[in-house]
């Protein structure tokens, strides 16, 4: 297992390098500098600023010095927030976004699997159509619509939950988690339904039935393990995507997360911040894909032994 992981991580290095390089080129060729403002910036000030952030050096020089810093784990200073380092900013947002993502994921998995399994038990009946239709809507319901809807219902009219914030008012984490989780719940529902149908058609399920096991055991013990493999495969990319895509929710609910930094940085042309967040998310994507693969291996005894046997 360890070797397997190590190999995959090594593969990641060139990927990251390319990502950094391409992003670097992208941001520096994008119009509008980090310091342009609607109030005209006097030439002398601009010079002072660019000098301070080495933007007056030739591009390749900037590139290599940046690479050097990144290798040492220093993402450089933020242009937008003077005095704040990118590491500092990312850290400040990471915890929140991770927590948000985690809750959203829990919501997604919980609702998704229940819906999917329920549907798979009686395909092409009402018990299938209802959750699957809901899933269809869930998938295509944009969070910029779902969020406000939830807020109006639970926040404004029912006054059950706070309409925004994070860790400021008890219960303010519920709506964001649901808003962010729903789309993924829908996907998971579809996946787990598909997986379960597949497994339920297997011979060994018939064997289990012939053994006189209760339907509950058959589903819970024999079917789920196999049936959820597609879900597991989906989890990794999903979680990464969830972190990256959290910015809409973070904006709607005023959550101090990474997603907002990611987008704001782009708008502010905060070069170091863009690069920092991009690299960070790229790493996340790679890590989570790896994790879900390892999980998939762990679930499947055959693969598990192969890997263990060989590593």
């Amino acid at each position: 297992m360890f070797k397997f992981a190590l190999g995959r991580l090594l593969q990641a290095v060139p990927v990251l390098l390319v990502v950094i390089t391409m992003t670097f080129m992208l941001v520096h060729s994008a119009p509008g500098g980090p310091f342009s403002a609607d109030k005209a910036v006097p030439a002398e000030v601009l010079e002072a600023l660019e000098a301070q952030y080495n933007l007056n050096q030739p591009l390749w020089q900037q590139y290599f010095s940046y690479l050097g810093d990144v290798v040492q784990g220093d993402m450089g200073p933020s242009f937008k927030y003077p005095g704040r380092s990118v590491n500092e900013l990312i850290l400040s947002g990471l915890g929140t976004t991770a927590e948000l993502g985690l809750y959203a994921m829990l919501v997604a998995i919980f609702i998704g699997i229940i819906a999917g399994v329920t549907a798979s038990m009686r395909p092409n009946t009402i018990q299938d159509y209802v959750p699957m239709t809901a899933a269809m809507i869930g998938i295509c319901m944009p969070s910029f619509l779902l969020g406000p809807l939830l807020v109006l219902v639970f926040g404004i009219h029912l006054e059950w939950l706070p309409v925004s914030g994070w860790d400021q008012i008890p219960g303010d984490k519920v709506l964001p988690a649901i808003t962010l989780g729903t789309g993924y719940a829908a996907y998971i529902a579809r996946l787990s339904r598909g997986g379960m149908l597949e497994v339920l058609s297997q011979d060994y399920i018939r064997t289990a039935r012939a053994k006189g096991l209760s339907e509950f055991l058959i589903i819970g013990k024999h079917a789920l393990r196999g049936g959820l493999i597609p879900v597991v495969a989906f989890l990794g990319p999903a979680f990464a995507g969830l972190l990256g895509g959290s910015f809409v929710v973070e904006t709607i609910f005023q959550i101090p997360g990474l997603g907002r930094f990611y987008v704001q940085a782009a708008f502010n042309r905060d070069y170091t911040m863009i690069l920092g967040t991009t690299v960070f998310f790229a790493t996340l994507i790679i890590l989570f894909n790896l994790l879900s693969d390892m999980l998939a291996i762990w679930i499947n005894p055959k693969l598990r032994q192969q890997v263990r046997g060989n590593a």
Partner: protein, 557 residues
């Protein structure tokens, strides 16, 4: 042959779906419980404990008064620091700040300030005239990248020092005669100078702290962080959580501490207007930084006292790129100007009590009323256009309105596009660009007509009119007129009396409006939602609050 089991026996069916049903219910209940956590809203709690919850727009970039540029920063710095002078929150006339009294020489060029002896920094340090000299020296270091350095330029030799023409700061017109006496010498009599002193770019900073965290002219050191920052204002910085909230609490060393009523102010970076408005409705905010256009109407209809609309010292206008071939002719520009039905726009599009603007400078800017040379006159406009060679808009090239991506701008642009089509029968396209791209195109003159806005830094026509001097950094229209420059830069400052000065500005603005490189559209209003419990709130054209006067009274709803 094998069978594929897609269905199962009913009994087991239901048993399982029952199960999942239960779980779902349980989950729902869970959510419910999680929700019913806070019986008391922020506002109610705040009213009890004297904590003001303030919607502040965006996350401040920096709290260093010599670096910060934005309005959100302004608000927080106003709470943390103070200058020599204050403004009366209603009349905006000068009132004492750190200086308890001041005298002006007869020629109006020498100001002498007497500082109060009980002024202290928030860490208890002595606060005296030398702080100002040092701070202003710092503010004029080019390396610091102070965008508001020009605020100092009325001071003798300040500009020269800043440009590096002279290197000896002692030649600059700032002197501490003794610990509590500060003397400032100006180039010309500058009637609005006292106002500038209340602008945060002229606030003093605490030498010890600044130097503790880096060189005086080093940009963005950590001295402004919570725990480090030392100010001289009514409040001191308690916590600063990025994108979450900034808390300031009573500064016990403040000379006027006894009159300060609030114990704490929490500034929220409320970027999303709709969210901010919902937060207000849910009782999470006392005060919102903005109000979504469509909500304004709702509150008005219900004539809800919470809605506060106040004229704002700012003009929303369109720049015209006078270098565009078909826009070089001022008749064309005037025609465009005359076919914008500003009444309709303010009443049906912006809908927040904005005033139709027919000149750059807002009316009653320190007693200045701009000349009225412009009106909604489609007939005349068509004539002008015809004279310019486009009878009934024929042959008029497709013209593009550039605006930065934003709902409000889009709406105005859509309306104007339609008006021009209707009245001038010309083809108009809209082009929205992401903010930085928009700035880029605008400053490169890479546009035809572009949306713009200007908010005054201080109350004086000068602040609006010196924008359009030849190649002025904020001109960006390519319009240039030596006579205009002479009036604004040379003649006006030398004017002996207030009225004479205003007359010159009127003349200048007349010239500007004749050539019409810009199409004024409306005068801004500030839109806030304010909880009735907030008292002593001042409504002025600078949208400036003095937090030391605000107080909360048990909510009345």
């Amino acid at each position: 042959m094998t069978f594929h089991f897609k269905g199962c026996n009913d009994q087991h069916q239901t048993s399982l779906s029952n199960f999942s049903l239960k779980v779902i219910l349980a989950f729902g209940v869970l959510l419910g419980l999680a929700g019913c956590g806070s019986p008391e809203t922020n506002v109610e709690e705040g009213n009890r404990t004297g904590v003001l919850h303030w919607g502040n727009g965006t996350e401040p970039q920096s709290l260093d008064p010599h670096i910060a540029t934005g309005v959100p920063e302004h608000h927080i710095i106003m709470a943390l620091m103070e200058g020599l002078m204050h403004k009366d929150s209603d009349t905006l006339g000068p009132t004492p700040g750190v200086a308890e009294s001041w005298t002006v020489s007869d020629d109006g060029r020498v100001y002498t300030f007497k500082l109060r002896d009980n002024a202290r920094w928030s860490n208890g340090d002595e606060h005296n005239a030398h702080d100002f000299v040092w701070s202003w020296w710092r503010a004029l270091q080019p390396a610091l990248g102070n965008l508001y350095a020009y605020m100092y330029f009325p001071i003798l030799n300040a500009r020269e020092y800043y440009r590096g023409d002279i290197t000896d700061f002692s030649k600059v017109g700032v002197k501490a005669l003794d610990d509590l006496t500060l003397q400032v010498t100006l180039n010309n009599p500058t009637p609005y100078f006292l106002q500038l002193l209340d602008h945060y770019s002229m606030y003093p900073v605490h030498k010890g702290t600044v130097e503790k965290f880096g060189a005086p002219d080093e940009r963005g050191t950590r001295w402004t962080y919570a725990g480090n920052l030392v100010g001289n204002g009514p409040f001191k910085l308690a916590t600063w959580e990025i994108n979450r909230a900034i808390e300031v609490e009573r500064n016990t060393f403040y000379w006027g501490n006894d009159d300060v009523k609030l114990n704490k102010i929490i500034f929220y970076p409320t970027e999303n207007l709709t969210t901010e408005e919902r937060m207000f409705r849910a009782g999470q905010l006392h005060y919102t930084n903005e109000v979504p256009i469509d909500k304004v109407e709702t509150y008005r209809a219900a004539n809800d006292p919470a809605l506060k609309l106040t004229p704002y010292l700012g003009t929303y206008y369109y720049r015209i790129n006078v270098n565009e071939p078909h826009l070089q002719d001022k008749r064309v520009r005037r025609a465009l100007g005359m076919t914008i039905d500003r009444q309709q726009i303010t009443e049906h599009v912006t809908k927040a009590g904005q005033l139709p603007a027919y000149a750059m400078t807002p009316p009653n800017t320190r007693g200045y009323y701009p000349p009225v040379g412009l009106s909604f006159d489609p007939e005349g406009a068509r004539q002008l256009l015809a004279e310019a060679g486009y009878p009934n808009g024929e042959g008029f090239p497709t013209t593009e309105i550039l605006y930065n991506t934003n709902e409000g701008h889009r709406k105005v642009a859509v309306a104007i596009q339609q008006m021009w089509r209707e009245h001038l029968n010309i083809d108009v396209k809209l082009l929205n660009q992401e903010w930085k791209v928009y700035l880029d195109s605008e400053s490169n003159g890479d546009y035809q007509i572009s949306r713009a806005g200007w908010i005054g830094d201080y109350v004086d026509p000068n602040n609006f009119l010196d924008m359009f001097i030849c190649n002025g950094g904020n001109n960006r229209t390519g319009w240039c007129n030596e006579e205009y420059d002479r009036l604004v830069l040379d003649v006006a400052p030398r004017a002996k009396t207030h009225d004479a000065r205003m007359a010159i500005f009127t003349q200048a603005e007349q010239m500007l409006m004749d050539d019409m490189p810009v199409l004024p559209i409306y005068t801004y209003t500030t839109k806030h939602l304010v909880h009735p419990s907030v008292k002593n709130l001042s409504e002025n054209i600078l949208d400036q609050q003095s937090y030391r006067e605000l107080y909360l009274e048990g909510s009345q709803d």
